[in-house]
């Protein structure tokens, strides 16, 4: 940026219709033909849970599932995801019921500041979809593209393994806290 040669941004690339199924809902928006998926999801579709951390595919905060595969939306052209089925962090919960992976990140300290959490949730959901019984090593390999600055990853791995155990039916979704929260509604931002 600073000190780099100027490339004119204007006129912007012509807009094209972009359509996809996002979190189960069909979406059709106009977006510049050179837009990245991250911008379309955040600015046009309104999925603000998809986070922009580094702009260059190093932090993993912007991960989304494109046809079930984890993709870095900052490195994916929106047009390449045209017509695909996209799942963002907002689409993980079943209605108001948290997915096991979400509940476990909350309960086991997998999320501190929470900014990297959507990316981790997407990546680990993709792992658990394919491998219901991963080793710690396999979990580490799955999340190696996601940076977390708060947790040191250890509680993230614990969260993922706890979710895997729930998915396999080996343990209940009960929170380890004394204060089980039967109210399924996730608390909103305060």
């Amino acid at each position: 940026m600073v000190g780099e040669e100027h490339v004119s941004m204007i006129p912007a690339a012509p807009s094209k219709v972009w359509s996809a199924e996002v979190n189960g809902q069909p979406q059709e928006v106009l977006s510049p033909s050179n837009a990245i998926l991250l911008d379309v999801l955040r600015d046009k579709v309104g999925c603000l849970g998809v986070k922009r951390g580094c702009d260059m595919g190093t932090c993993g905060c912007c991960a989304v599932l494109v046809d079930g595969e984890p993709r870095l939306s900052c490195l994916t052209m929106a047009q390449d995801a045209n017509g695909c089925s996209i799942t963002t962090v907002e689409g993980l919960a079943d209605g108001a019921h948290l997915a096991p992976i979400q509940q476990c990140f909350a309960d086991h300290g997998g999320s501190q500041c929470g900014f990297c959490t959507p990316g981790f949730l997407i990546t680990s959901q993709a792992l658990l979809d394919k491998n219901p019984n991963p080793s710690d090593e396999q979990v580490a390999c799955a999340i190696e593209g996601n940076l977390c600055r708060c947790t040191g990853y250890q509680q993230i791995i614990e969260s993922i393994q706890a979710a895997a155990a729930i998915n396999r039916g080996e343990s209940d979704l009960a929170a380890p806290s004394s204060d089980a929260h039967p109210d399924p509604h996730p608390s909103g931002p305060d």
Partner: protein
């Protein structure tokens, strides 16, 4: 249930054989009484202290808050109360605030390191269709800065730019493309000035210093702050038994939080500024905004969004926050500015690149007779927190060990780099690393175990450091013992084969700043918390404490829930808006748990008393016989005799409506009287000890840290889940600094890696297996005994790894990070020196105990008994640093030893021999030079 209270055998009904109803099986008004459980839960005796009749062990003694423990949530692994917002994507960070009709702001940044701004032509940008507002430094001439004594920043360059990336102008346009285009159309005429990139050069006189401080300017150098401190008797250091001298170089590191800075500014229809920003310290931003924008503080509402990681990097008031507000005012529309990752590095405020020289001496009994620190720190273009950092580099090294003497010279210089500032472990990390490695080296020279050397030199609980810091609780000894045991140290240290090593490091950090900046002792407490309860029973807690992911909101909710014996879900913490929250000094210097939770307890106690009074009146029972437990208040002699929380609440609301209380915290008076005595002063200190195990590939120079045993004394873990998260996370961040992270400046002084690809934050594969060990020393003034856990745990990992590398390959490297190229160069150098052909033949250090080891063991076992008595306040005799050296704690040491000095300015005969940073004292301030006055 209490052990003393036995339920009638065989009774499953809610009525006892004697006709009374059984406690815990009583029905009480469920509607609106809150909570999802209709029944009262039993008291959780596992979480009620044993001295209050519960089962929670109290090895560190009683605490004044013990009687308010209700077994509700304190001490339990509690998920963060805002975790569900975070896992569902509902948490709103800076860039997630989208207001109707918003504009996109973009900042024009300097391409030069140091230049005078001669003119700025904004006409082309203003003419571009879609550009709504353009602003330059002329719109905001007022200076600001996080510290009142060093305000040296402008919203945008007024006269000069001071580093590449410094702000020059800004634009607001209808979309990002237009804003970027407009930014590129702003033409700036610069006169390029000579720039300074090396901290050592910052000590020299130059024609055009980066800042000019008038009569207080030191010579015509770039020295921003210089510190001199000398305590103790240094006359006998020459003939010490063992000594260490090391010159260290630490590269600058960045916080690396995942959320780039972002801000949204909006002037509402009443002309008030609504500013949304991910700030750790919203109150300081609030003050600076009022100054820069020239509006009263009450016309500004700072709304802290969720903060995507702070670590100190979001605690300054930032120029881009001013820019957004200025643009929004000009445009009459909301303006959102979001940073690229590159801009995050331009704004920086990361850990100071440092040149540290440390000298240590030990006498023939293995006591640390002298500690000399000289720290030259590179502040970059602005002062930021640097005034404080300059002190912290020295004074936070004065514990946990008892010192014979302490000598510190520090200097912070301006250079033409992005500003350094506060980062987790503020100012203490680098010197701590050098110091702990120095101790390891002295232990090697004296042929004693480094853990035993430490154990035999610890300050006890309830003592004073050499510079007068008041130590209260102190869990250092247990921390060392626990990591020694956990790591199987005695079987491994100096016994492992080449390439495998184990090392120890300790840490000491403040738990809140005793005399914080922007604090008027006559007018403000350190922290204020308001609690309000309306008829529905829900508890709303207003606090300004900024949750930056560390869980402060959860901690505040927990202590309120604990005191009032209410389920956590009944407690709602509102902490986002300055309009609704009392002034809070923010999340820095690890103050939030200590100060805010104390204020919250104080407010909750007020409410508790009102509830008990009401219950007492209804039940006609004195309130000292009443017990609060899970939405019910009952007679402890007959639990069946009680009322619901709601009944008591409604009774106490009869006259005034809502039940409202305010609580505050301020530190007790403490500290010495010398200049700088306030720096590093805290109401409590945390202690930590880590053992790290590493593998070093001697042919590649690659270090892999495999295991860490991390013991941290946090006083009392209000939430062990969060404390463990802080410990492991601290390990991660410290490990980055010791192994891979560095801000690399090239030959021309340009920052070469302002991105997360080349700035190497450890990934999951670099993380060792961390075993967090929580030590609870029960601080007498902490909330339920708690101290900080957010910053202190970072300190020990650096020296532990460096010491482990020495154990593995017998080489000490005094330059961080320990990247493979550096390690391999050091190995190659040693091979050449010692004529070794194959790296696999390198000798490894071995330990053959000297006679001193026995003495140390004996001393530490005596001290262990002393510490237990002092910790439990069974021995309350005064203890000051120096008792180990034979001083009487009741008489000031300077009266007992003629050579004992307390000095904060060098004597004229000392000035020439003061080391690198100390050489700053050879310069004279302008006012003494006949210059400006």
């Amino acid at each position: 249930m209490s052990k003393d209270y036995v339920q009638q055998p065989g009774s499953n009904s809610d009525v006892r054989v004697d006709g009374k109803r059984v406690a815990g099986k009583l029905r009480f008004n469920p509607p609106g009484s809150g909570g999802s459980r209709p029944e009262m839960a039993e008291r959780d005796m596992e979480f009620i202290p044993e001295l209050q009749g519960g089962n929670e062990a109290q090895p560190a003694g009683a605490h004044s808050h013990d009687k308010y423990r209700t077994g509700t949530t304190v001490g339990k692994r509690t998920p963060l109360v805002d975790a569900k917002a975070k896992v569902t994507g509902q948490a709103w960070y800076g860039d997630d605030v989208r207001l109707a009709n918003e504009l996109i702001g973009r900042i024009v940044r300097s391409p030069h390191h140091h230049a005078r701004v001669k003119s700025i032509d904004t006409s082309k940008a203003e003419a571009l269709p879609g550009v709504i507002a353009v602003s330059t430094g002329a719109d905001a001439p007022n200076k600001f800065g996080v510290l009142p004594v060093t305000k040296d920043e402008h919203a945008m360059a007024v006269e000069k730019v001071r580093h590449v990336g410094d702000l020059v102008a800004c634009v607001a346009a209808i979309d990002e493309e237009t804003a970027r285009e407009a930014a590129s159309l702003i033409e700036v005429d610069y006169e390029v000035l000579e720039s300074v990139h090396d901290a050592k050069k910052g000590l020299q006189d130059v024609d055009d210093p980066i800042h000019w401080r008038g009569k207080y300017h030191i010579g015509s150098t770039n020295i921003q702050k210089r510190v001199f401190q000398e305590f103790g008797d240094r006359s006998n250091l020459e003939d010490s038994h063992a000594s260490y001298s090391g010159k260290w170089k630490f590269m600058g590191v960045n916080h690396g939080f995942t959320e780039p800075h972002a801000v949204v500014a909006h002037w509402d229809s009443n002309g008030r500024l609504q500013l949304y920003t991910p700030q750790q310290v919203p109150h300081y931003a609030h003050r600076a905004l009022a100054t820069v924008l020239e509006v009263p503080m009450h016309q500004v509402n700072v709304i802290r969004t969720f903060v995507g990681g702070g670590f100190g990097g979001k605690s300054d008031p930032f120029p881009h926050e001013m820019c957004a507000a200025i643009l929004a005012r000009k445009a009459g529309r909301p303006v959102r500015i979001t940073f690229d990752r590159e801009e995050v590095f331009w704004v920086n405020r990361g850990r100071h690149p440092s040149n540290i020289e440390i000298k240590m001496h030990a006498d023939d009994e293995g006591k640390i007779s002298g500690l000399d620190i000289d720290a030259l720190i590179d502040g970059g273009g602005f002062a930021s927190f640097g005034h404080v950092t300059s002190y912290y580099n020295g004074v936070l090294a004065t514990a946990p060990y008892e010192l014979g003497s302490f000598h510190y010279t520090g200097a912070r210089v301006w250079t033409n780099k992005p500003a350094s500032g506060a980062m987790r472990g503020h100012g203490a990390v680098n010197t701590r690393c050098a110091l702990e490695v120095g101790l390891d080296d002295m232990a090697e020279k004296m042929q004693v175990d480094p853990i035993d050397l430490r154990l035999a030199n610890l300050l006890p609980p309830h003592s004073k450091t050499i510079t007068g810091f008041r130590i209260t609780s102190n869990g250092m000894r247990q921390a060392l013992e626990r990591v020694r045991e956990g790591s199987n140290w005695d079987e491994k240290f100096r016994k492992m084969p080449l390439g495998k090593g184990i090392g120890i490091g300790c840490g000491f950090f403040i738990s809140g700043s005793g005399l914080p900046i922007h604090w008027d002792p006559n007018n403000f407490p350190h922290a204020t918390v308001h609690i309000q309860i309306d008829m529905d029973g829900g508890v709303t807690v207003h606090t300004g404490a900024a949750d930056i992911g560390q869980g402060s909101t959860t901690a505040v909710a927990q202590v309120v829930a604990e005191v009032l014996a209410l389920p956590l879900e009944l407690v709602h913490v509102r902490s986002h808006e300055s309009d609704t929250s009392p002034v809070d000094l923010g999340s820095y210097s690890s103050r939030v748990t200590f100060m805010n939770a104390n204020a919250a307890i104080s407010a909750a106690l007020d409410i508790r008393e009102k509830l008990l009074d009401a219950a007492s009146e209804i039940l006609s029972t004195p309130s000292e016989y009443l017990i609060l437990n899970d939405r019910r208040i009952y007679n402890k002699r007959d639990p069946a005799e009680g009322i619901s929380y709601l009944d008591a609440l409604h009774k106490s609301q009869e006259d005034k409506g809502a039940l409202i209380a305010s609580g505050a915290y301020r530190t007790p008076p403490m500290g010495g009287v010398h200049k700088g005595a306030a720096a590093g002063l805290a109401p409590a200190y945390s202690f930590s000890a880590y053992v790290a195990e590493v593998e070093v590939d001697v042919e590649m120079g690659l270090i892999k840290c495999t295991d860490v045993w991390a013991a941290h004394d946090c006083g009392k873990a209000l939430n062990p889940l969060a404390v463990e998260g802080q410990i492991i996370g601290s390990c991660h961040m410290g490990l980055g600094q010791v192994l891979s992270e560095q801000m690399v400046y090239g030959r021309t002084g340009h920052l070469q890696n302002p991105n997360l690809l080349e700035y190497k934050i450890p990934s999951v594969h670099e993380m060792p297996n961390v075993t967090p060990i929580i030590i609870e020393s029960c601080d007498p003034e902490g909330p339920f005994g708690a101290k900080e856990a957010g910053e202190g745990p970072l300190l020990p990992i650096l020296p532990a790894v460096v010491n482990a590398v020495y154990d593995a390959i017998g080489i000490r490297i005094n330059e961080l990070p320990l990247t493979p190229d550096k390690v391999w160069a050091a190995i190659a150098k040693k091979m050449k020196l010692e004529n070794i052909a194959d790296a696999n033949d390198l000798p490894t250090p071995r330990l053959d105990f000297s006679e001193l080891q026995e003495k140390l063991l004996q001393r530490s076992s005596e001290h262990a008994k002393r510490d237990v008595l002092r910790q439990r306040s069974e021995d309350t005799n005064p203890y000051i640093n120096g008792v180990l050296f034979g001083f009487d704690p009741n008489i000031p040491p300077e009266e007992q030893d003629g050579g004992w000095k307390i000095s904060v300015r060098p004597d004229s005969d000392q000035i020439e021999n003061l080391g690198l940073a100390g050489s700053a004292w050879t310069k004279v301030e302008q006012r003494h030079m006949g210059g400006e006055n």
